[in-house]
Amino acid sequence: MPEQHAATPSAPTREKILLVRLGEITLKGMNRHKFEQQVIRNMKHRLKDLGHFSILQSHSRIWLEPDPATSPEGFSDDDQVDQVINRIKDVFGVVSISPVWRFSGGIEAIETMAVDYVGQLLSDGRKRTFKVESRRGLKSFPFQSPEISERIGGLLFERFSSQLTVQVKNPDFILYVEVREKNYLYSSIIKAHRGLPVGTSGHGLLLLSGGIDSPVAGYLMASRGMMLDAMYFHAYPFTSDQAREKVVELARLIARYAGRIRLHVVNFTEIQITLRDFCPPEMMTIVMRRMMMRIADRFAGQNQLKALITGESLGQVASQTLEALVTTDQISTRPVFRPLIGLDKDDTVSIARRIGTFETSILPYEDCCTVFVAKHPKTHPSLADALEAEKDLDIEALVTQGLAAIETEIITPRYDDCPQDGAL
């Protein structure tokens, strides 16, 4: 038996730390290490203004605690724990997080800690159902997993008989006991967003409008590990500065998951006026989208962005029929990812609600796509139709004009626990 599991006469000490579980990354082969290091880098980046933390990876897990040199007992208060969880639950690659008690000692230490832990859990006086699940990673430990569960469960039931009832199926809480080089106790498992860590799947350019779809598309591509830049086409005075602010806010909300985003705002007004003056109204939307795609594609090429991302969904509106998508797709020299292409609008809305972009997306400011919408836009345009509609345009001059009028903003995430701007 290792020394730390020998019976200890005095009360054992414990550290409050966080257990972070990784998901799909653990299925990776030789390059798994690269993914794990990236998720740790992303976590550290999120936490950098909250202090120094030790983040250690072991098997498919990460142990996170305040710097042991300054905080040997782990997290000192629950608010700090909540703050850290709030930051790292949105790091892609993380599957779940548990606040954990870590301590040394044998079965007696586990018993003492379990009573203490559950005592705190029951301090509100409410009755609860429970069970104990144990896992013995340290095979030299003298009790097998079922024995640990039985012993701890019996003890808790005896100590808290007025409040606790054993229930195997769907109990109010499960007390997890893990015996490894040290012992671990926890009862809550907070789900995170899974996926792959941002930074492991290249860098794409998201065409971000003020609607519901494009922020969700950005979120979904970031969840596959893609870093994001975003491009917004601003057409003041056809669209208001509030519409632009809304897009900035949406980018900020996506940055919570995707990390820092460079938002490139293209001044599209003069281009839009030219399109209005030279294109048939029923082809306006298609021609406009093709123009946006040209500017985005050229910009992506100049900035080493390997793919374009849009929030299009097949058949959702006139400009998203298969024929319309073919005419816009033809413009791009790089892959165009459309992660919503097969989703029902309700599904997109439910993701938007879950990631917190919905309420901002539905603010009623016009975006430039809706300003000159024809009463009866052409829903099944051919490439020939598009070329015919563009025949009077000096395409190259318009693209150059668009690229020359780009303002870039660096958008960083804003956390609820840490308001970053505001005059008050």
Binding site: Y236, P237, F238, S240, I273, R276, L363, P364, V371, F372
Partner: protein, 380 residues
């Protein structure tokens, strides 16, 4: 080019004198009017003097003035407080189409509480259809509420006829008038109007934001919206803001004293703007009828969305509204324009220009030129 502010119906800019007087009162009258010490009594006296001044400006008794936080609170209290205090008078509230959101939303709340809301149509000139109004009022009508001067079109409702219909058909029904856009802009004499409730808001006539009033006819039962320390005869809890009350009273007094000259000036400004637009060859639809108040002018420029024109003018430092400031964040054409039967494409191309005596004829010339340029560049 200097800033040209043509959005005075959204809010007015307090004058230098108003700001100076208010700042002085903030320094000197900081005590709680409910405190029994000398400083408290000084503040209480300022509140009372302010109410007395408001009463003189509005043609009512001092005891009929309740200070509130602004127009929305006044309207909420006027409607909710009256129906709650008079449950035996009936369950039906009659209103007009195209009311301000503060009234619409309050009535929508009361509808959810079980009251019947009957909305009477307005005609293409923006005024109520008096025949329909007469038909809408019955024995169950507890009150009638209407916007005296429409905030988007400037249309004035024929209050005398409305009051006489009420007197004939249901004298027990109280009339609430939303006078937010009327106060200080047209003559208001509460006693002579024959109504029971009148709501006003200080920042629409030069006072700072955060203060308004509700006039309640003596003898009408009303319940408070805000319960508290028994202030204002128990009708509106919360420490009275003596400096704000004084500022509102001074602003209203000044507005009333200069009313005739300001009306003339706004007429001249409105005419000048329209004649400039005509001479520049700009086509427009005048939604505000000629009989509307002169300080509110609703114009549509078909082919150019109101929002686009608003932002284009902003580039020249000229500020106007699309619809009312309180509902311009809602998508879709204005309720009142739809109620007047204005076609949606026209309504979407409308802007509201609201004037004050701080505007000049030169402002009108520049605004017309800016509108003409925007039409040339952005109109479809």
């Amino acid at each position: 080019m200097a800033l040209i502010y043509l959005d005075h119906s959204a809010t007015t800019w307090p004058s230098e004198a108003t700001i100076a007087d208010y700042a002085r009162d903030l320094h000197q009258v900081a005590a709680n009017p409910a405190s029994l010490h000398r400083l408290g009594q000084q503040a209480a006296r300022l509140v009372q003097d302010s109410k007395a001044s408001l009463a003189r400006s509005l043609g009512c008794q001092t005891s009929e003035v309740i200070l509130t936080s602004g127009g929305s609170e006044s309207i909420n209290m006027g409607l909710k407080g009256t129906v709650a205090a008079n449950p035996k008078r009936g369950r039906t509230i009659v209103t007009l189409a195209g009311e301000h959101a503060a009234t619409r939303e309050t009535l929508s709340y009361l509808h959810r509480q079980g009251y019947i809301i009957r909305t009477v149509a307005i005609q293409s000139n923006g005024q109520v259809d008096l025949g329909q109004l007469e038909a809408a009022i019955d024995e169950d009508t507890v009150m009638l509420t209407l916007l005296l001067v429409n905030n988007e079109t400037g249309v004035v409702q024929p209050l005398d006829e409305i009051v006489s219909i009420r007197n004939r058909k249901r004298p027990r029904a109280a009339i609430h008038v939303d006078g937010v856009q009327a106060c200080g802009k047209i003559p208001v004499h509460f006693d002579q109007m024959g109504i029971e409730l009148f709501s006003g808001s200080g920042h629409k006539f030069g006072a700072p934001k955060g203060i308004g009033f509700l006039l309640v006819k003596k003898g009408l039962s009303i319940q408070p919206l805000i319960h508290g320390g028994g202030q204002q005869s128990g009708l509106r809890g919360g420490t009275e803001n003596a400096p704000l009350a004084a500022s509102m009273a001074r602003s209203l007094k000044c507005s009333v004293a200069t009313l005739d000259s300001r009306l003339l000036q706004c007429h001249a400004l409105r005419d000048r703007l329209l004649s400039e637009l005509q001479s520049l060859g700009v086509s427009y639809v005048q939604i505000s009828p000629g009989a509307a108040v002169p300080h509110i002018l609703n114009l549509a420029f078909p082919g150019l969305r109101g929002e686009t024109l608003q932002h284009a003018l902003e580039e020249d430092d000229i500020y106007v509204s699309t619809g009312s400031a309180c509902s311009s964040h809602k998508k879709g054409p204005s309720e009142v324009l739809r109620a007047m039967g204005i076609p949606v494409p026209t309504a979407e191309c409308s802007i509201r220009i609201s004037l004050s005596d701080s505007n000049t004829e030169a402002d009108m010339v520049l605004a017309a030129q800016s509108i003409a340029q925007a039409c040339q560049k952005y109109r479809r």
